[in-house]
C-alpha cells in the first residue's frame, strides 16, 4: 500500500449503505474494506492495517457496541472508531462513546462532515502513533541504560572486591548500593609492613564515566602497592593516569591511608575529601584536613604530596567519609554536618561499632528524606593481632635456575626522585622467581638499602627511632636531608648462581658512598626501633659480611626447588 493512503473499514449489514459510504470515501482518496457485521469487523481489524473504523450499531451476529469494545481492548495501537447511527436519542449516543467509540455520525451522512471527522481522528491517531514511537524509543534507551548499569556494577564489583574487610582486620566500610554510580570507591591492599594501604575516593560524575576512572586507579593502586612502591609513587602514577583519561571537568577527590605496622605509624594524604579523624578512647587525636588538589587535575611529584603522620596505638580508629555523609539532609533541608558527627564520636564507647552508630544516627536524622548523594563511610581500627590476607594468590612457577648478575647505580638525584627498590625487586623476580612474592629477598634488600641510605649517606642517627615520636622526626629529617643533599650514591650488585639442589644462591652486595659506620654498636643495640634491621638480615641469610669501612655489606641467600 502506498504511503499516505488510509485504509477505512466500513461496517454495515446493509449493502446499499456500504456502497454509498465506500463511493464517498473512495472519492476522497481512501481505500475501503468492507465488513457485514461486528464479528467480521473485529477480524478485519486484526488482519489488516486499518486506520479508521466506521461502525454501524444495529447488526446481526455482533452489534457495533460489542465490536467496538473488542477492537479497543485487543488493539495495541489506537484505532479510531466512528459510529454510524440513525438514532438520535442521547442515551444511545452516550452508549456509543462509552463502548469505545471516538465519535459518531448520524444518518443520513453529510459528505463534508464525514470527511472532516475522519481527518480529525486521523490527526489524533497520528499523535498517538508519535507518542507510541517515542515511548518505544524511551523503553529501548532505558533498557540500554539498565544494561550499562549492570556492566558498570560488574566492573565496579571487580574493582572494589577484596577480602580485607572484616572484624578481624579492623577494616570496615559501608557503601550504599547506588554509591558506585556516584563514583565512590574504596580500595585496600596489604603493604610492605604487613599493614594496609587504603584508598577512599569520590569521582565527580556518575555511572560509567566514574567507572572509567576507577578502573585504572584500582589497577595502579593494587599493582604498585603489591610491588612495594610507596603510597606517594602510587598516587603520582594514579594521578597521571587520571589526567590522561578524565575530561577537564572531572576529577577524583580522595584520601590515601597508609598503615605502617612495623613502626605503628599512620600516614594520610587527603586530597579533596572531608576531614578524616583519628580517634583514641573516644576523643579525636588528630584531624586530617585536605591539603592537596584532588587527583586528575594537575601534575605533581611525590615530593609535592602533603601528608601527615601520626603514631598509632592499638585500638585507635580512623574514620573517613565522602561528602555524602556531611551533606545528608533531613526533610527540613538541614545537613547532617560535622557537629552531629563529632557528637557521635563523643557519645561512643571504645567497644562500640562506631561505623554502625554513625550510619544509624545519620539515618535517624534523614528520617527518610531523599538523598542527593550516597554515603560512603570507612572505619579502620588498628588491632594488635592481625594478619591481612589478600585474595591475590602468588603462585610461583619454577624457572630453571641460571647464572646471572645485575648491577644498579643510583646517584642522589635518583634516590631523591623515586623509590628504587621496587625496580630492583621487579628485575630479580623476572629473572628468577625464588619464593612466593620474593618476601625474604625483599625484606633483606629493603633492610640493606635503608641502612645504606639512612645511615650511610644521610647520616641519620638510628637512635632517633627509639621512641614513636622520634620515628616521625627521623622520617621528617630524612626527607629534609634527601632534599638538600648534593652528593652520594648507592651501588647494588646482585649475583645468582645455580646450586646442586636445583635451586640457587643469591648474593646481594650493597655499597654506599658514606663514611661507613660501626656496625658492632648497632648490632648490640637492644631496642625496639633500631638495630633490628641487621639482626633481621642475619637471621634470614646464610652469610652476612660487613666490609670496607662499614659502607659495604654482602648477604647470601640460598634457595632450593622445595622452597617454591
Amino acid at each position: 500500500m502506498a504511503e499516505g493512503v488510509k485504509n477505512i473499514l466500513v461496517v454495515d449489514d446493509d449493502l446499499t449503505n456500504r456502497l454509498i459510504l465506500c463511493s464517498l470515501l473512495k472519492a476522497s482518496g481512501y481505500k475501503c474494506i468492507e465488513a457485514e457485521n461486528g464479528k467480521e469487523a473485529v477480524q478485519a481489524v486484526e488482519g489488516n492495517d486499518i486506520d479508521i473504523v466506521l461502525l454501524d450499531v444495529m447488526m446481526p451476529v455482533m452489534d457495533g457496541y460489542e465490536a467496538a469494545k473488542i477492537i479497543k481492548q485487543s488493539s495495541s495501537r489506537f484505532v479510531p472508531i466512528i459510529f454510524l447511527t440513525a438514532m438520535t436519542d442521547e442515551a444511545a449516543l452516550v452508549k456509543c462513546i462509552d463502548s469505545g467509540g471516538d465519535d459518531f455520525l448520524t444518518k443520513p451522512y453529510n459528505h463534508a462532515l464525514l470527511n472532516s471527522k475522519i481527518n480529525s481522528l486521523l490527526r489524533i491517531a497520528e499523535l498517538y502513533k508519535n507518542i507510541e514511537d517515542q515511548n518505544k524509543d524511551i523503553t529501548e534507551k532505558n533498557f540500554q541504560v539498565e544494561q550499562e548499569m549492570i556492566v558498570t556494577m560488574k566492573l565496579f564489583k571487580k574493582v572494589v572486591n577484596n577480602d580485607l574487610r572484616g572484624e578481624k582486620t579492623g577494616l570496615n566500610y559501608s557503601m550504599s548500593p547506588m554509591s558506585m554510580f556516584n563514583g565512590d570507591l574504596i580500595l585496600a591492599e596489604k603493604n610492605q609492613t604487613s599493614g594496609l594501604e587504603i584508598l577512599i575516593a569520590d569521582f565527580t560524575g556518575h555511572g560509567l564515566s566514574a567507572a572509567i576512572g576507577a578502573l585504572p586507579v584500582s589497577d595502579v593502586f593494587h599493582s604498585m602497592t603489591q610491588k612495594g612502591f610507596s603510597f606517594a609513587d602510587t598516587l603520582v602514577e594514579a594521578n597521571l593516569k587520571l589526567m590522561e583519561l578524565l575530561p577537564t571537568n572531572m576529577f577524583m577527590a580522595g584520601a590515601l591511608v597508609s598503615v605502617d605496622r612495623s613502626n605503628n605509624v599512620l600516614s594520610v594524604v587527603n586530597a579533596g575529601l572531608p576531614d578524616l579523624y583519628l580517634l583514641r578512647n573516644g576523643s579525636i587525636v588528630h584531624t586530617f584536613k585536605s591539603k592537596n588538589i584532588p587527583f586528575g587535575i594537575s601534575k605533581f611529584s611525590a615530593a609535592q604530596i602533603e601528608f601527615e603522620m601520626q603514631i598509632l596505638e592499638y585500638g585507635d580508629r580512623l574514620i573517613a567519609a565522602t561528602d555524602g555523609l556531611m551533606e545528608a539532609n533531613n526533610p527540613q533541608g538541614e545537613m547532617f554536618g560535622i557537629n552531629r558527627l563529632l557528637n557521635v564520636f563523643k557519645e561512643s564507647t571504645q567497644e562500640e561499632n562506631l561505623l554502625g552508630k554513625i550510619l544509624k544516627e545519620c539515618n535517624g536524622f534523614c528520617d527518610g528524606a531523599e538523598q542527593t548523594d550516597d554515603i560512603t563511610l570507612l572505619e579502620f581500627c588498628h588491632l594488635e593481632n592481625v594478619k591481612y590476607e589478600t585474595d591475590e594468590v602468588t603462585q610461583v612457577e619454577y624457572k630453571e635456575p641460571s647464572d646471572w648478575s645485575l648491577q644498579f647505580n643510583f646517584d642522589i638525584k635518583s634516590l631523591r626522585q623515586f623509590d628504587v627498590l621496587p625496580y630492583i625487586m621487579n628485575a630479580v623476580n623476572q629473572l628468577q622467581p625464588i619464593e612466593s612474592g620474593c618476601t625474604t629477598v625483599k625484606t633483606v634488600l629493603t633492610e640493606m638499602f635503608s641502612n645504606a641510605l639512612d645511615h650511610g649517606i644521610l647520616k641519620l642517627d638510628s637512635s632517633m627511632k627509639n621512641s614513636p615520636q622520634g620515628y616521625m622526626e627521623f622520617y621528617q629529617e630524612k626527607q629534609k636531608r634527601l632534599e638538600s643533599m648534593t652528593d652520594g650514591h648507592i651501588q647494588v650488585s646482585i649475583n645468582h648462581e645455580l646450586n646442586a639442589e636445583g635451586g640457587g644462591t643469591l648474593t646481594m652486595h650493597l655499597m654506599d658512598s658514606g663514611e661507613g659506620y660501626n656496625f658492632k654498636d648497632i648490632n648490640t643495640e637492644k631496642n625496639k626501633y633500631s638495630g633490628r634491621g641487621m639482626r633481621l638480615i642475619s637471621s634470614l641469610c646464610s652469610d652476612v659480611r660487613i666490609m670496607g669501612k662499614g659502607n659495604s655489606i654482602m648477604a647470601v641467600y640460598s634457595w632450593s626447588k622445595d622452597d617454591l
Binding site: T204, T248, S290, P294
Partner: protein, 101 residues
C-alpha cells in the same frame, strides 16, 4: 539562577557573576558565557557574591574555565564567596590553582 558576563572595554578582564545555585544545571550557560571571550591579557573574575551553593560539578566547570583562560595566558580570580563556599574551595585546595579573594 543566572549567569552574566561583563568584559572590560580594554579587554583585560572579564567578570562572570553567578546568581543562585552553581551546579550542574548551569553547565551549558556557564560555558556559553565565556566561550567567545578572548582577553588580550589579564584575568577572568568569577564573582561568587550572589552564589548560594557550589557543588563538585561547579568545581569541574571552573576547571573548564581555567583551561580556556590558560590558553590565553590569563589568570582566574574567585571573589565574594561565603564561608560555606570557601570551605568547599579549601577542601579541594582550589586556592592552589586559582587566585582566591
Amino acid at each position: 539562577m543566572s549567569i552574566s558576563i561583563n568584559v572590560a572595554a580594554d579587554k583585560k578582564s572579564a567578570t562572570i557573576k553567578i546568581i543562585g545555585r552553581f551546579d550542574f544545571s548551569l553547565h551549558n550557560d556557564f560555558r556559553k558565557a565565556y566561550k567567545d571571550v578572548t582577553l588580550s591579557s589579564g584575568e577572568y573574575v568569577v564573582d561568587l557574591s550572589s552564589t548560594e551553593y557550589l557543588d563538585s560539578s561547579a568545581l569541574g566547570m571552573l576547571l573548564l574555565l581555567k583551561e580556556h583562560a590558560d590558553a590565553q595566558a590569563c589568570k582566574i580570580r574567585l571573589t565574594g564567596f561565603s564561608d560555606e563556599i570557601k570551605e568547599i574551595l579549601t577542601i579541594a585546595s582550589f586556592d592552589k590553582i586559582f587566585i582566591v579573594g
